[in-house]
């Protein structure tokens, strides 16, 4: 029923700067017979900070101890795509936000780069093996954790949040299961018309056919 998910989250030291790099990659392929109910799978991007104060959220659910938020109102959120482009996404009731323990950055050098407070899951496509839907999903997000000089959270706290992404995807794949299969309903008349009824004529006068 559910496809297999290949997920990897790594935190690595690089020579580019003192901020440790994180790489989050997820891939999955739908085979025939899987996800036949066509769940909607969202785009996965990083939330860009300037939109955060305008984005009022509420707790949607918890996956383990990690809260998953939902916007309170429809609006928009500025996000940073993996290619580094800022894109405004429309937030709907189905949008989900996974807040990170602290900011992550798109630059390895302290003092530079955009501050990214969470993972944004919104918009999206229907996923199934049917022709009009997406059959595979590839998510690749790179960024930099804050330096540990000062009150920055430990990398382990970030890894815990990253690791819920496949669990979240499995949860999202349940979308559509609230609409069950239905049998054919039929209605058939095969008769000589001979009906009675009340007709309201041009003068709104009641004429009764007997």
């Amino acid at each position: 029923m559910f496809p297999e998910i290949n997920f990897k989250a790594d935190i690595i030291r690089t020579s580019l700067g003192p901020r440790p790099k994180f790489v989050l990659s997820l891939s999955t392929q739908v085979r025939a017979g899987q996800l036949s109910w066509r769940p909607m799978v969202p785009s996965v991007v990083m939330l860009y900070l300037p939109s955060r104060p305008r984005l009022e959220t509420t707790l949607a659910f918890r996956l383990g101890s990690i809260p998953v938020l939902r916007p309170l109102f429809a609006g928009s959120a500025l996000c940073l795509t993996p290619s580094g482009v800022k894109v405004k996404f429309i937030t709907r009731s189905s949008t989900l936000i996974v807040p990170l323990p602290g900011y992550v950055f798109d630059s390895p050098i302290p003092g530079r780069g955009e501050r990214l407070p969470g993972i944004y899951l919104g918009g999206g496509w229907f996923m199934s093996s049917y022709p009009v839907d997406i059959r595979s999903l590839e998510v690749h997000i790179e960024g930099y954790l804050p330096c540990r000089r000062g009150p920055a959270p430990a990398p382990k706290a970030y890894l815990e949040v990253f690791n819920i992404v496949p669990e979240l995807l499995k949860e999202l794949w349940r979308d559509g299961l609230d609409s069950g299969p239905s049998q054919e309903l039929g209605l058939e008349y095969n008769e000589i018309v001979c009906s009675g009824g009340t007709i309201y004529g041009p003068e709104q006068k009641e004429i009764l056919f007997i």
Partner: protein
């Protein structure tokens, strides 16, 4: 009126059939698979008028099924069907995105148009999130007279297909749509009775024979009875 109706019901056509034609009306909804799929619907209305039937030439105006918000404000109630369903007649022509006849899209519907309120939208594709969203369904977009007479429409073969909106539920409930589809048949039967308000008329004639002065005398003496034959 009732007398007219009784007359029609008691009479028979040369083919031994009644004055009303046989109507085949069939609607199916579904089946729908589990998940983000829309149930298909299929509507068939067939009617063939044989000689001697519908001699009163009922006028069948354009008939649409539309979302309540799309029914023009300028309207009046025309029929009240069983189950409390109302049929409105648009008083002004209007635009609407509709399914059929022809390609789905925005169409200008000219008066007179009868409108049955539809519970929601209709779609052109079975997949939720795909296809065109239509505000209603048009059975026929122009009025016509239905009779076996030359120049009138003598047979109908309406087939409309599409998809109902996605709904949650195990199974999802589409009884409200079925109620409207059922009402279409009732409305069509009522429309076939159009024209029966104008009954038969035996020949009336007026003839006068005689010299002009005789008529003048008659007018001067109103008590005298003069018969015009």
């Amino acid at each position: 009126m009732a007398r007219n109706k009784k007359k029609f019901f008691s009479s028979e056509t040369p083919h031994g059939e009644g004055p009303f034609p046989k109507v085949i009306y069939k609607v199916t909804i579904g089946p729908k698979p589990m998940g983000n799929w829309r149930p298909p619907f299929n509507l068939v209305l067939q009617c063939e008028v044989k000689p001697g039937q519908l001699e009163w030439r009922p006028y069948i105006p354009a008939v649409c099924l539309l979302r309540p918000e799309k029914i023009p404000h300028s309207r009046r109630e025309r029929f009240s069907l069983s189950g409390g369903l109302k049929v409105y007649e648009a008083q002004k022509s209007f635009w609407a995105v509709i399914l059929g006849p022809g390609a789905p899209g925005e169409r200008f519907l000219e008066c007179p148009v009868l409108i049955l309120p539809l519970p929601g939208d209709l779609f052109t594709r079975p997949q939720k999130g795909e296809g065109q969203q239509c505000e209603g369904l048009c059975l026929w977009d122009k009025g016509f007279y239905l009779s076996p007479h030359k120049g009138d429409c003598s047979s109908l073969n309406i087939v409309r297909e599409g998809y109902l909106p996605w709904r949650e539920g195990h199974p999802p409930n589409y009884d409200d749509y079925m109620k409207v589809f059922k009402a279409v048949f009732e409305l069509f039967c009522l429309l076939l009775e159009d024209g029966l308000t104008s009954g038969d008329l035996p020949p009336l004639s007026l003839e006068f024979q005689g010299p002009l002065n005789q008529r003048m005398q008659a007018l001067e003496k109103p008590d005298e009875t003069i018969s015009f034959v």
